[in-house]
Symmetry: C2
Subunit: 143 residues, 2 copies
DNA sequence: ATCTATGCAAACATTTTGCAGGCTG
DNA sequence: CAGCCTGCAAAATGTTTGCATAGAT
């Protein structure tokens, strides 16, 4: 995967060491659509790399956050990680827990307009929408 | 304060008991602009009501969340509570930590448009914008 | 008088940290 | 082969829970 390769090249150029653990974590989070938690990441990665510790997962995620390669989303029950760092809406299903991404042109407009009015120098933004996904709506009454 | 009174009346009507602890917590959070954490709430309330425990603060906040009287915002370092449950932008200063509210008409438009496109049945949304507030920008280079 | 809400302390879940040794560059 | 990175275990943090009792209705 080329995105993985270019990220690895970038980290190496910055002097970071490329360990199998880091590659495995990066590989999984980049290919995942599911916004995994640290625990889920760890469980999945252990299948192929049994020696990866949860502490290393956290340390790697910390690095990736700093490098702006992943974004941390805080929820009840812990953080989830999103490798999509472009501006987008997070659609959170409160029934099944899935999180979908969606792009929307109004987002940029809203962000720049709020930045101008508030006089904030803006680093980033987050828009989350909570509700029932179409599938959970069908599967009888959500609760 | 009339808002406090009407909330208290509502809780009483629902069969909840109106204790001094609950009144103190409600009173503070309603009048606060600062989106306090549970710990900050507790510290402040102890000044006038030394016998209020942190556990009660949490239990009361839980009740108020369920009743949709406050909104919980998850951040690094813990949750913060916002008594403004109307649709608004949260402006988060990453330097001084303050959180300001701002209304914006695009927010409703964006929410309904995303709801339509995604086929989610929407319960609510959250828009947070991170950056340096105008004051922190002035106080020399932010870091 | 009833039964909910409180305070305390212990339990819990998640994330962070310190350190000795291993592996990358 | 120098020093960053890892795994382990312990610690730290933030939040929740169980229980006996105080207190609201």
């Amino acid at each position: 995967m080329q995105k993985l390769d270019s990220i690895i090249a970038g980290l190496r150029k910055d002097g970071y060491r490329i360990t199998p653990q880091r590659v495995a974590i990066l590989d999984y989070i980049l290919s995942s659509e599911s916004h995994p938690s640290a625990e889920e990441l760890h469980e999945f990665i252990k299948k192929k790399h049994p020696m990866v510790s949860l502490a290393t997962v956290y340390k790697t995620l910390e690095l990736l956050k700093e490098k702006n390669l992943v974004r941390e989303l805080k929820f009840a029950g812990g953080a989830r990680y999103d490798a999509n760092v472009a501006r987008h809406v997070n659609l959170v299903c409160v029934s099944c827990g899935r999180i979908e991404d969606m792009e929307h042109s109004l987002l940029e407009q809203l962000e720049s307009d709020v930045a101008r009015k508030s006089k904030y120098s803006v680093l980033g933004s987050k828009f989350e929408l909570y509700g029932y996904c179409s599938q959970c709506q069908k599967e009888k009454l959500p609760r």
